[in-house]
């Protein structure tokens, strides 16, 4: 039992408070030391906790109570931290990869005028993310969940002088909030039926009162999936992630590749007991994953911005994780989450090094031949892309292989899920090596500045190593998830799964490096142009949402800007005012008018009375 677990999220929080409290007046060196140092301490604490946990003969999960947040009649929210294989895996990824990215940022952001603000946001993000994965209560998890969303907003819009960055940041926040609202409703529904939001107690209670397939638990799980697809950028809420690339590149590496965007995967894995009671919801997760991974892969093929290619590849890879969750391959999903964190952080940081050397150039077609000038970035990219493409012996291979095999054995939808996964794997290999071949081979189009400094190279090297050997790690989650069927590595299927990425790289080579395959026949044709534009716009999703939601909302707001209800009250006031005006006309001061009116009134009254008396 590690009593110091509360220090893990507290360290980055203290870092945040120090940086905010000093109002940006600290010298840069101190800022960097506080920013990265707080994560380093948190990482060491995670290592200690992990060693202690795994050192036991029979590792048993335990919770550490921190304090009671709220206690009302009928509702209690305890802040307590759960330590098990799943949270330890997440903690290691967040603090480990997080630390490397902080070190890298210390140099990458050195020139920025808001150095201190940057690190304060980053530290707050890590604190919130750690809270998210440590929480043993869905409401406390939600605190971290919204906290990382806020930091994502702040960091995407970090360079807020540009209006486009602000728009991207708002889009990221609002779109994920749509999912968060669904998740909140899911929590209400679960609470009303289970009487608690403590995750372990919920699981125990749920298996008591619900049978697999019950309607309530299915709806509750689907609402949680709503939250997950928002945060993890899956269909139908994935549109925010490509725009979120407006943030500084280390932010994309940390938040939009390695940690926050996988929170949805974590959420479903953490509540898997509920999902096991809702097979329909689980199948939905698989289908969402399969469709998203294909859509994003096609979109990645059509992009020209180096970061957007990586953003779509992230959406696609999280699609694989969703697919894995959906087919019940829980540990494979978490395994892929970890390897993806390694190689995608690597790719983003390497992309950052390229962008840094080319003065914020993002278009891959204005790059080229950078292999010689930027060797560290080049090799990082080769290793990262190989892992992303899941070439054999890289970390990505081991994890994706497990997912595809599990899909193969799962057998839902007569092989369609597997077909999507396989096609996605082929496309992944093509687009990732398209990137490598265009950026690093061929002729030099933009002369790079000197390569990035050591402080940026060392994290790249460590992550490169992890991207290769990460597949040999095992995630200690056996005790968390139900035992999966031993995956069958015999037969033809594993060979096909291993072969597809190689075929993809070969195709990319033949298209982009040795132009044997005349791709221009397709890209220059009328149909090809349209298709590419369609994929470039990510299947026109933004266009659809713009017409369907954004424009109508703005139109309604604009039309009713003056508040129609106010108009009603003003109308009442106007009526009274004109009644007043008309009645003042009668007060003319002319005696003859008064006499005439009095006489007419008398006659009328008399007539009425006579009419009543003498019918």
């Amino acid at each position: 039992m590690a009593d110091y677990v509360f220090l893990i999220p507290l360290m980055p929080l203290i870092g945040f408070l120090l940086l905010v409290g000093t109002l940006g007046k600290l010298p840069r060196l101190w800022v960097g030391l506080i920013g990265a140092g707080s994560i380093a301490i948190a990482f060491m604490l995670v290592v200690l906790t992990g060693l202690e946990y795994l050192g036991q003969a029979d590792p048993t999960p335990y919770t550490v109570d921190i304090y009671t947040w709220m206690q009302l009649a009928g509702f209690t929210a305890n802040v307590s931290f759960l330590i098990d294989g799943l949270s330890l895996t997440m903690l290691s990824v967040i603090t480990g990869v997080g630390f490397l990215i902080h070190v890298y940022s210390a140099l990458f952001m050195w020139q920025d005028k808001d150095y201190s603000r940057f690190f304060s946001y980053m530290n707050l993000f890590v604190a919130a993310m750690l809270l998210l994965v440590l929480a043993d209560n869905l409401l406390v998890l939600f605190v971290g969940w919204e906290g990382v969303g806020l930091c994502s907003y702040l960091l995407v819009g970090f360079w807020h002088e540009e209006n486009a960055n602000g728009a991207a940041a708002r889009k990221a926040f609002v779109v994920t909030r749509v999912g968060d609202t669904a998740m909140a409703l899911g929590m209400f529904l679960l609470f009303v039926h289970l009487g608690t939001l403590d995750i372990q107690a919920m699981a125990a209670q749920a298996t008591q009162i619900w049978q697999p397939g019950d309607l309530i638990v299915t709806i509750a799980c689907l609402l949680l999936v709503g939250g997950a697809v928002g945060k993890s950028a899956q269909l139908p809420l994935q549109t925010w992630l490509p725009d979120a690339m407006a943030g500084p590149t280390p932010v994309s590496a940390l938040i939009h590749a390695a940690t926050m965007v996988t929170a949805g995967v974590y959420l479903i894995a953490r509540t898997h007991e509920l999902f096991l009671l809702a097979p329909a919801a689980l199948l939905t997760v698989a289908v969402i994953g399969a469709i998203t991974l294909l859509m994003a892969a096609f979109a990645a093929m059509a992009q020209t911005d180096i970061k957007r290619i990586l953003a779509y590849s992230t959406i696609s890879q999280i699609g694989y994780m969703f697919l894995a969750l959906g087919v019940g391959a829980w540990s494979s999903a978490i395994f892929h989450l970890m390897t993806h964190a390694f190689f995608k952080a690597l790719l983003f940081l390497a992309a950052g090094a390229v962008i840094y050397s080319l003065h914020h150039e993002h278009n891959i077609f204005r790059m080229g031949g950078l292999r010689k000038k930027l060797p560290v970035a080049f090799w990082s990219f080769v290793i990262g892309s190989a892992a992303l493409a899941a070439l054999p012996l890289t970390s990505g291979f081991y994890s994706k292989d497990l997912i595809l095999l599990a899909t193969y054995h799962h057998n839902a939808f007569g092989g369609w899920l597997l077909a999507a996964g396989m096609l996605g794997a082929l496309l992944t290999a093509i687009y990732s090596f398209r990137l490598v071949f265009i950026v690093f081979f061929g002729e030099v189009k933009t002369q790079p500045d000197a390569a990035a400094g050591k402080l940026m190279s060392i994290p790249l090297m460590i992550l490169s190593l992890l991207a290769i050997i990460g597949g040999w790690f095992t995630v200690p989650v056996e005790s968390v998830f139900p035992v999966a069927a031993e995956s069958d590595h015999t037969g033809l299927m594993p060979m096909i799964i291993a072969g597809v990425p190689i075929l993809g790289v070969l195709l990319a080579y033949l298209i982009y490096l040795k132009p044997v395959i005349p791709i221009s026949l397709f890209t220059q044709s009328a149909l090809g142009k349209q298709l590419i534009a369609f994929w470039y716009s990510h299947w026109a999703m933004d266009w659809i949402y713009d017409r369907l939601l954004v424009k109508p909302y703005c139109a309604v707001a604009a039309i009713n800007r003056k508040d129609i209800i106010d108009w009603f009250y003003n109308a009442v006031a106007d009526v009274l005012r004109s009644a007043h005006q008309y009645s003042t006309i009668s007060q003319s001061g002319q005696l003859r008018t008064y006499v005439a009116v009095i006489a007419a009134g008398l006659v009328l009254t008399l007539a009425v009375f006579l009419g009543i008396l003498i019918p």
Partner: protein, 505 residues
């Protein structure tokens, strides 16, 4: 009797501030500030005091930290009953605290007739405290009116361009609804006298009476409308954007921070316990009005270009949660509603103060003329960001606790309305973030050089920041404070309505 002393102190302080103007124009604000601080200090011991007085409230025991009753007009059964339970104490404390913030926020803004300004400010505070502590319906109505008149002057004399229109509108709306309440109070008292043979305005004797269902519904509506106009809820809200926008900063802070809460307090203290059954029959309508307010206010807020108007409409949206929470008839939602009252008081007061601070510097509230103010005033940008984030319901800050508990409790009562109300979480984010963008982000085409927040402004804002963090991270003291009061009221209501609405959670 502390609460009477506090009120007298505020009344006297107000008169002194007014008189002191003739000696020096800086004296009134110092006198006002000192009066406010002294009053708060006077209140402090009450937090450590046990609820000594236990009174029967329609069969349920009610616990009072302070209770005092004097005869006033015995012939009509009118007496001076001042009482504080946890709920009242919390609202009185909020009033004094925001009074302090309001005085600081108008420190340099008011140059014309500063003495009369501080007089009105302190008298408004005294009136509001009276509202939160009187438990004789006649006395309550008296204070209900007392708090309006000085507020009317604050808007009409020191307001902005359209102050006359706004002040008149504010006065007519509240006066008309107050008239409805007066009729309802008199009907209630007279019918009760008819039935029981005793003419009384005493709250404790009126709770638990039974008027008969038809009349009870009408009388209840009299109270209900008076309070939801004040809240304000759709469709009774149009006075609020004008009043808030035109009022000077200090008056906006008081209006949003505490005057709106008198409406919510009235619903909790009077409408529901006096007419539990009638309230239960309109519960769904009231919740629906709350949900509509949430969405409607948010859309309107999004459309505004005037910063203060945006914050004003956001109040309509936030107070919608209170209405939903009160009429969910659920203990959790009710606590959420109370928490929302306090948290909204903090966050909106701060946002109005920011709006005032910006207007003081660049002489406009028009957001189309702003943008990029972060560069010139990074500290103000960061502080505004904090309050905007609080107001959009970020977990870890007070507003989230309120909204979450309201929705959690309301979900058990009505799933559909709760789901609609929950959309407010999205629309709230939309208008909050667009405000941040329009005011502070982007680039400043005018390249203004402005003075950032000064220490006086920080003195007012830092307590609000700490307060919101405290409410968000450790709200338990607030719950513990208001719990006995709410439990009693809940018992009164469920006791009377158990047959009508079945077994409540």
């Amino acid at each position: 009797m502390t609460v009477i002393e506090v009120m007298l102190l505020l009344f006297v302080g107000g008169v002194l501030a007014w008189l002191s103007q003739r000696w020096h124009s800086h004296w009134p604000k110092w006198i006002a500030l000192i009066t406010c601080v002294l009053s708060s200090v006077l209140m402090l011991p009450l937090y450590y005091q046990e609820s000594t007085t236990v009174l029967d409230l329609a069969g349920a025991p009610s616990y009072w930290i302070e209770y005092v009753q004097y005869s006033w007009i015995p012939r009509f059964g009118i007496s001076l009953i001042f009482a504080l339970d946890g709920l009242s104490l919390m609202m009185v404390s909020l009033t004094l605290f925001l009074g302090f913030v309001a005085i600081l926020s108008s420190w340099t803004e008011i140059s014309e007739r500063p003495g009369f300004f501080q007089f009105n400010l302190l008298w408004t505070l005294a009136g509001v405290i009276g509202v939160f502590s009187s438990l004789d319906l006649f006395l309550f109505f008296f204070f209900w009116e007392v708090m309006l008149i000085p507020m009317y002057f604050l808007i009409a004399i020191w307001g902005h361009e359209q102050r006359a229109y706004a002040a008149m509108k504010f006065f007519i709306f509240t006066q008309f609804s107050g008239l409805l309440m007066l009729v309802a109070i008199l009907t209630l008292v007279l019918v009760n006298a008819d039935q029981s043979g005793q003419l009384t305005f005493n709250y404790f004797e009126l709770v638990g009476h039974n008027l008969g269902s038809g009349l009870s519904l009408l009388v209840m509506l009299g109270f209900f409308i008076a309070f939801v106009v004040k809240l304000p809820a759709f469709p009774f809200h149009p006075w609020l954007p004008d009043a808030h926008t035109q009022a000077p900063t200090a008056a906006s802070v008081l209006l949003a921070g505490i005057l709106l809460k008198t409406g919510a307090y009235g619903l909790i203290r009077f409408t529901v316990p006096l007419f539990p059954e009638a309230s239960a029959t309109i519960a769904e309508v009231a919740m629906a009005l709350g949900a509509i307010s949430i969405i409607y206010g948010a859309i309107l807020a999004f459309a505004q270009t005037d910063f203060k108007r945006l914050v004003a409409y956001s109040s309509v949206s936030h107070m919608g949660f209170v209405l939903v929470g009160v009429y969910a008839f659920n203990a959790i939602a009710m606590k959420g509603a109370v928490m929302q009252m306090v948290a909204h008081g903090f966050s909106t007061a701060a946002l109005f103060m920011m709006a005032g601070a910006i207007q003081h510097r660049i002489h406009t509230r028009d957001m189309t003329l702003m943008g990029g103010l972060w560069q010139a005033m990074p500290k103000m940008g960061a502080v505004a960001l904090f309050f905007i984030v609080a107001s959009l319901g970020m977990p870890g800050l007070g507003n989230f606790v309120g909204e979450f508990l309201v929705l959690l409790g309301a979900f058990a009562s009505n799933v559909t309305i709760t789901a609609i109300a929950a959309i407010g979480l999205i629309t709230g984010a939309i208008y909050s973030l667009i405000a941040m963008q329009r005011v502070f982000q982007g680039s400043d085409s005018n390249k203004r050089t402005l003075s950032d927040l000064d220490s006086r402004e920080f003195t007012a804002l830092i307590p609000l920041i700490l307060g919101l963090i405290w409410l968000g991270v450790y709200p338990q003291p607030v719950f513990d404070l208001v719990d006995p009061a709410l439990a009693t009221l809940h018992q009164v209501v469920t006791g009377a309505t158990s047959q009508l609405i079945g077994n409540m959670p």
